[in-house]
């Protein structure tokens, strides 16, 4: 689930759901208590717009293992070696 929302910090303002370019987040206004749901996690682009624009700093990003960044230590350590 890419965006992780910290319930203790989130004030359910809905800013993240408004600006998400992929419509991943959803503010359920009809629930008895307003509820913020990561509704379409596999449609996340991991762009961090929600994280950056959250006024309460309540969002962090989890990068799925599918998006693995392959890294390798060169044997001799440097580009010109």
């Amino acid at each position: 689930m890419p965006p992780i929302i910290n319930d203790k910090k989130c004030v359910k303002c809905g800013c993240c759901a408004e600006i998400c370019p992929l419509d991943v987040l959803y503010l359920d206004k009809k629930a008895p208590e307003k509820k913020l749901v990561v509704r379409y996690p596999d449609e996340c682009w991991h762009c961090r717009a929600c994280e950056k624009d959250c006024p309460k700093g309540a969002i962090t990003m989890r990068y799925p293992l599918s998006h693995y960044m392959l890294h390798y230590k060169p044997e001799k350590g440097g580009a010109s070696q």
Binding site: E18, I19, C20, P21, L22, D23, R39, Y40, D42, E43, C44, W45, H46, C47, R48, A49, K52, D53, M61, Y63, P64, S66, H67, Y68, M69, L70, H71, Y72, K73, P74, E75, K76, G77, G78, A79, S80, Q81
Partner: protein, 554 residues
């Protein structure tokens, strides 16, 4: 059903769309921007950019021959751009930089114009290093200030034309609420600025369709709408893709300060053997398929190697440049997983096809071949310029529209047959409970595109079969797909657009009976010199007949 009337409708509130809305509204045109997401954070420039490809006379001199030659040679457009179109964005670039400064976008983070990245050794540098992290909020604020109306989460789905084929409006869907609502626009002119075709081919991680280098919300709808409305498309046979960290698809390769090397840290191109903050590494710009090509040739893996980048430059790259470019997910990822780029290289890959700068044919005024229809940005097929191209052609379109709307009258759109057709389609998809899901259809479309109209090799039999399979898939999708809510309807309509866009790709690939660049044919292995400097165009007339032609590059 809701109805709006305006003089100028902009489909897509990215950089191109917002620039068009600003330019037109400034001249008193009544503008509406319809945006699939929210213009403050939408499109491939959602979170920023850090390079503005430009010509500033005081910095680059007056030798336009040199400027054109050097920009042309170091840019990832390859040969598939009209020089007359490139001139437009080059010549408007400095003016736009000053406009953006006035809007509060920081074009001089160091206090002066400084150029970095995408640089060819020995050439002048043309990429202005700026801080674009607030570019979308700033452009949105300016569009509103100039009087443009912005409708977020409204997806334009088809263009309305009159009997003569002139644009009179558009039809779309409002996806703000759980239940979608059809929206009909009456407009004298429409701009398509809908970006790349990000999800038509499988992602680098096929199980995760949204792992794409540029915004996965851009799905070729502008190109598909233009084709259905009778506009001419160009270069649909020249499939292309982007490059970057292999399984973590992200654009912005020019922001990296390192060099492309093999596993031993050895460079394989002549564009520099030491990391340079000034030039970056132009390898992936001029040879974006190098990572794929090298793997195929048994020469992989290939890395972005920052192990010799100075600690200052590495810190700057990760904590300033990538933030300005809006790709600091890379920074966040490497920090979360403890990857130290001063010691470890990151494997780069060539990403699957996304048809950047392949699509709608425009002239120097951003006009398409359909009267009243304009296009700007990555959905245009005969110009590149990326950010600078999108901004300039948005501006040009807005200016041209301001004159055009004075010459035509509004026409009634109520009762237009396409509105009824679209309403019936949406109702059918929403009413079909328990129907097939859009991901099933897209997964099959992606497989078909990859295997039958892919980048490795094609032949006439594969192209004919692939086209037939897509038509079969579309017919079954109409019978089986269902949507639970407006979000799913949006995604489903995207899939239908991509299936429609498959047609010009298959037809143009089949009709180019030669091998050239990324177009590799087993049945026509030679390169036909008679087609040198020629672009292939395709247009569907009102009777549904398809016409293809090769025209000279200009």
């Amino acid at each position: 059903m809701k109805t709006y009337s305006c003089e100028f409708l902009v489909a897509g509130g990215g950089v191109g769309g917002l620039m068009a809305s600003i330019a037109a509204a400034k001249k008193g045109v009544d503008v509406i921007v319809a945006e699939k997401a929210d213009t403050r954070r939408s499109g491939s420039g959602a979170n920023g950019n850090d390079h503005y490809h430009c010509y500033i006379p005081a910095c680059h001199g007056d030798d336009m021959g040199r400027v054109r030659r050097e920009i042309g040679a170091s840019f990832d457009a390859g040969p598939w751009v009209d020089a007359s179109m490139t001139d437009v964005w080059i010549n408007r670039s400095y003016e736009i930089i000053r406009m953006w400064e006035d809007m509060g976008i920081n074009m001089r983070p160091t206090g002066e114009y400084r150029f970095e990245g995408h640089g060819m050794p020995g050439f002048q540098l043309y990429n202005l290093k700026f801080d674009g992290k607030n570019q979308k909020p700033a452009l949105t604020a300016e569009a509103k200030k100039q009087g443009a109306r912005i409708l977020n989460r409204v997806v334009i789905n088809d263009l309305l034309t009159n009997e003569e084929g002139r644009i009179i409006g558009a039809v779309g869907v409002d996806v703000n609420e759980e239940e979608p609502e059809l929206v009909v626009f009456q407009a004298k002119a429409v701009l398509l600025a809908t970006g790349f075709v990000s999800r038509m081919y499988p992602s680098i991680t096929p199980a995760y369709m949204f792992n794409t280098p540029c915004c996965p919300a851009t799905t070729g709808s502008g190109q598909a709408m233009a084709y259905r409305a009778g506009a001419r498309l160009v270069n649909m046979d020249m499939l292309n893709g982007h490059a970057g960290p292999k399984y973590f698809a992200r654009g912005g390769k020019g922001t990296w300060i390192g060099i492309s090397t093999d596993i031993h840290g050895k460079p394989f191109t002549p564009y520099g053997d030491k990391p340079s903050r000034a030039t970056g590494d132009v390898t992936a710009d001029v040879w974006p398929s190098c990572y794929h090509d090298r793997m195929k040739a048994g020469q992989g893996p290939t890395y972005m190697n920052c192990t010799e980048t100075s600690p200052e430059d590495l810190d700057y790259m990760l904590h300033e440049a990538m933030v300005s470019e809006g790709i600091d997910s890379i920074t966040d990822y490497t920090e979360q997983r403890g990857i130290d780029l001063s010691k470890e290289m990151v494997e780069f890959g060539t990403y699957p096809i996304m048809m950047g700068q392949r699509g709608i044919e425009c002239d120097e005024h951003a006009r398409t071949s359909v009267e009243g229809l304009y296009a700007a940005g990555n959905c245009v097929g005969n110009v590149n310029g990326s950010l600078a191209g999108a901004a300039a052609f948005g501006l040009v379109a807005g200016e041209d529209v301001a004159e055009y709307v004075k010459t035509v009258e509004q026409e009634a759109v109520a009762g237009h047959p396409l509105v009824k057709e679209k309403e019936a389609l949406c109702r059918m998809l929403m009413d079909r409970k328990g129907g097939a899901h859009w991901k099933e259809a897209l997964s099959t479309l992606q497989n078909l595109m990859n295997e039958y109209a892919g980048i490795d090799i094609q032949n006439e039999n594969m192209l004919k079969a692939g086209y037939t399979y897509v038509q079969q898939l579309k017919a079954d999708c109409l019978k089986e797909l269902g949507c639970e809510n407006s979000h799913e309807l949006m995604r489903t309509l995207e899939v239908f657009d991509m299936m429609d866009l498959a047609e010009p790709i298959f037809f143009c690939c089949e009709n180019r009976k030669e091998t050239r660049g990324p177009h590799v044919r087993s049945d026509y292995a030679f390169t036909n010199v008679l087609l040198n400097n020629k672009f292939q165009t395709i247009v569907k007339d009102q009777s549904g007949k398809v016409h293809m032609d090769f025209r000279m590059k200009h």
